[in-house]
């Protein structure tokens, strides 16, 4: 048993080294812009760059719309599957897992061919259309995570009793979903939302192929042309991902652990 603990430490330390050396080196590198001293010059240049601000803002807005679209598509479906159509669960679960099977680049390639400017549904014919298509594409990418998060949330509440109680009090379907179900799974939805945000914010393939002024293509451009700024951007991106994951962890402490079923 003692040798077991020794090897566990060896594995743990080797793993920690592999993961922390690149991160520490990136931080160190990002501070080296001014010769001889450590400085935040690279961060100042990046954060002060109007293109950084514009593309970052664009991606944040795209992420927010992605989350809204994802919630609108996933919550009513997951709810309805639990309440009325449990026999469809395998089909819906299979579809939500498809974005893990079909690479993002293939999905966006399909969009470009199907929704080009002289197709029946010319999403790519206008700027707003292309923006909408990017949000739709992101919602597709986030589908597996969003659906799992919401479904896990629904599992912890008694959907049927809540629905019947709301119906007895005279609520319509919109009220039931918006004011009874959604608040009960809000923590799960927010977990899915932050994960979506982390995935979407620096996404490169879709944004670049749809020719959108998003943060991903900006990152690529800086990476190809600058030395120290990419390191600063990597640190910022890591901080954003870390922030999203921390929020999910904090939220999960507030999530109900099991259904409060009346026995």
């Amino acid at each position: 048993m003692k040798s077991g603990r020794f090897w566990a430490w060896v594995v743990f330390i080797l793993g920690a080294a592999y993961f922390f050396i690149p991160l520490l080196a990136t931080v160190e590198f990002s501070l080296r812009m001014r010769r001889g001293v450590h400085s935040f010059d690279a961060y100042q240049i990046v954060l002060g760059d109007p293109r950084f601000q514009a593309t970052f803002l664009y991606s944040v807005i795209a992420a927010v719309f992605t989350i809204i679209l994802g919630v609108l598509v996933v919550v009513p479906t997951a709810y309805w599957i639990r309440l009325r159509l449990p026999q469809l669960r395998p089909i819906v679960e299979f579809i939500t897992l498809l974005p893990l099977v079909i690479p993002a680049i293939v999905i966006v390639f399909g969009y470009i061919r199907m929704y080009g400017s002289n197709s029946p549904l010319p999403f790519l014919g206008s700027n707003m259309g292309a923006n909408a298509l990017l949000v739709i594409g992101y919602a597709t990418l986030a589908l597996p995570y969003m659906y799992r998060a919401v479904d896990t949330g629904l599992r912890t509440i008694d959907v049927r009793t809540l629905t019947e109680a709301a119906q007895i009090l005279g609520a319509g379907w919109g009220t039931i979903i918006g004011r009874v179900i959604l608040p009960n799974v809000l923590i799960a939805v927010l977990s899915g939302a932050f994960l979506t945000f982390a995935i979407v914010i620096g996404e490169f393939t879709m944004a670049s192929l749809l020719n959108r002024p998003a943060f991903g293509p900006y990152l690529q451009n800086i990476g190809a042309n600058r030395a120290y700024e990419p390191a600063a951007l990597a640190v910022i991106a890591f901080a954003i991902t870390w922030g999203c994951m921390s929020l999910i962890q904090i939220l999960s402490r507030f999530a109900p652990k099991s259904a409060n079923r009346p026995n």
Partner: protein
């Protein structure tokens, strides 16, 4: 709500045969899931099918296998498939074993409690830290003027680039991909190891099993399907990844997603149908991988309830 209570009332007033009631309620049942299916059909299934059908069509829309055959006959394309499969395969295998070792160390290794929560939190972050920023981090570390490169050169007098190190080799990319593959393995496999019941270990010990026998005859058979399933998920994960590799070399690197990217951007192959065929090949490979994944997954869930 209103139509539902109506249907209940009619049924209560006049007990209809069950078949008729089911037929009456069918449309309202489906309205609830219609937005989801329309969304999935329009933005996931049809665009993919469009490419799949296109892969089997010639320029005038006639059926042909030429595009698919060209995947094999064109050496630059078939080579890009090989490189992609090699990178995905080895990064999945190495990532899986490294992730499994870390997971066992933190769950069963007798390490202090903080290592487990710290590792799981970090893995959640690192498994989502992919794409361009990951490439930037590795360039800052092991690029030509990276911190570790210069440290090794100045302190230990080792020039890794003179020794043939390069991100654009298969092994270089595998080393970078491990940064998100290992944490993904940890995140998925830790619950499976948690699922090993303490009673199994005690039962094995009661029956006189050695530690080695317990591992060989209990732990490995139980973890095996979920381990293998995750390996396949890691494979698909690496196979579709493009941004990290693109940040290292732009369009120069010969892996399938980058080949397709260049094709979409500039029709470099001068044949849009060939682009469809490349996309189709990617779907076939990740699709096959996931068929195995689902199969292993259902096998492992039997034990880990």
């Amino acid at each position: 709500m209103t139509d539902l209570s109506l249907s209940n009332q009619t049924m209560a007033a006049k007990p209809a045969p069950p078949n008729a009631a089911a037929a009456f309620r069918l449309p309202t049942q489906w309205i609830g899931v219609a937005p989801f299916f329309i969304f999935a059909l329009m933005f996931l299934i049809l665009p993919t099918l469009y490419l799949v059908v296109g892969a089997f069509q010639g320029r005038e829309g006639q059926f042909t296998l030429d595009n698919i055959l060209q995947l094999v006959s064109d050496p630059s394309i078939s080579n890009s498939y090989w490189v992609s499969i090699k990178i995905s395969f080895w990064s999945a295998i190495l990532g899986a074993f490294a992730g499994l070792a870390i997971a066992i160390a933190i769950v069963r290794g007798g390490l202090p409690g903080w290592t487990r929560s710290a590792t799981l939190t970090f893995s959640g972050v690192a498994s989502n830290f992919a794409g361009l920023p990951l490439a930037f981090a590795f360039i800052a570390t092991l690029g030509r003027v990276g911190i570790v490169t210069t440290l090794l050169r100045d302190v230990l007098n080792i020039n890794i680039y003179a020794m043939g190190f390069n991100f654009l080799t298969t092994s270089g990319l595998i080393a970078v991909y491990l940064f998100f593959q290992i944490p993904l393995m940890v995140v998925i496999i830790v619950p499976a190891i948690d699922g090993l019941k303490k009673e199994w270990g005690e039962a094995a010990a009661t029956l006189g099993a050695t530690q080695w026998q317990y591992w060989r005859m209990v732990v490995i058979p139980v973890i095996w399907p979920s381990f293998l399933g995750t390996v396949i998920l890691l494979f698909a994960n690496a196979f579709g990844a493009i941004a990290t590799a693109y940040a290292f070399a732009g369009p120069a690197l010969n892996i399938v997603p980058i080949k397709l990217y260049s094709q979409i951007n500039g029709d470099v192959l001068h044949n849009p149908q060939l682009g469809y065929a490349i996309a189709f090949g990617m779907i076939v490979i990740t699709g096959l991988a996931n068929v195995f994944y689902i199969w292993f997954r259902t096998r492992s869930e039997r034990w880990l309830k």
